[in-house]
């Protein structure tokens, strides 16, 4: 298969601070995204870019904001973490992920047990963007470069 990538110019976003215990904090690659389904479009919300996540995971409230009243009607997938024995049931639904002026169809996985708003993982995000984490300089951050595969 002949695959050609069309690369658009990169956009650089600064890392954002997130609290930790004892007054400490962490810098995280956080991106404002939106989700749409049919004619419904959410307001922008923060998502953590996480190459360790297989899929794009969203809190169940995001599903309900685009009209998915019962997330358990989706495709069940059990996700695990690095902690032994910890599992989370997620439910996949067809949605569109909106990143700035860009949007594309993905299967988003939803769970009410996700403690944060969203994670952008490999299937649905890292297959759409080259992501460069850059800790250098006075404004560390990450760069996104959209790639379009053609077969």
């Amino acid at each position: 298969m002949d695959v050609t990538s069309l690369v658009a110019g990169p956009l650089k976003y600064p890392y954002k601070q997130t609290p930790l215990p004892n007054g400490d904090f962490d810098w995280l690659p956080i991106l404002a995204v939106q989700v749409s389904r049919g004619s419904l479009l959410t307001s922008p919300f923060e998502a953590i870019i996480d190459s360790g996540s297989f899929d794009c995971l969203f809190h169940g409230d995001v599903a309900r904001a685009v009209g998915i009243k019962d997330i358990t009607t989706g495709i069940l997938k059990v996700s695990g973490g690095v902690v032994k024995g910890v599992q989370m049931q997620t439910y996949g639904h067809d949605i569109r992920l909106v990143v700035g002026a860009d949007n594309f169809k993905i299967v988003g996985y939803f769970s009410d047990d996700l403690p944060i708003a969203a994670l952008l993982g490999r299937d649905g995000f890292f297959d759409k963007y080259i992501v460069t984490f850059d800790p250098r300089g006075p404004s560390p951050g990450f760069e996104l470069t959209r790639v379009h595969k053609q077969s």
């Binding site: 930790l20 215990p21 922008p44 360790g52 899929d55």
Partner: protein
């Protein structure tokens, strides 16, 4: 051909203010932050509750986020 990187600017004063706001917010809740991340526009137990209050406030370009049950380092890494 070299392409130019377009940086999305964030004022320095925004950084510490963001931390203060997140620490002051109720846990397990949704927040709507002002575009410059210096104010909490709305809070709610659900995404739609916080979003509705933020819309009614007339605030433009707010961003929603969610506080966890506890602030901690997390190995998120959900894998199939």
């Amino acid at each position: 051909m070299a392409s130019r990187v377009i940086e999305m600017p964030v004022p320095k004063e925004t950084e510490n203010r963001r931390l203060e706001l997140l620490r002051s917010a109720p846990m397990n809740s949704w927040l709507a932050l002002s575009a410059d991340e210096t104010r909490i526009v709305a809070t709610g137990k659900t995404f739609m509750e916080a979003d509705t209050v933020a819309k009614k406030s007339g605030e433009k370009n707010y961003v929603l986020t969610r506080t966890p049950d506890v602030w901690m380092s997390r190995a998120l890494l959900p894998v199939r």
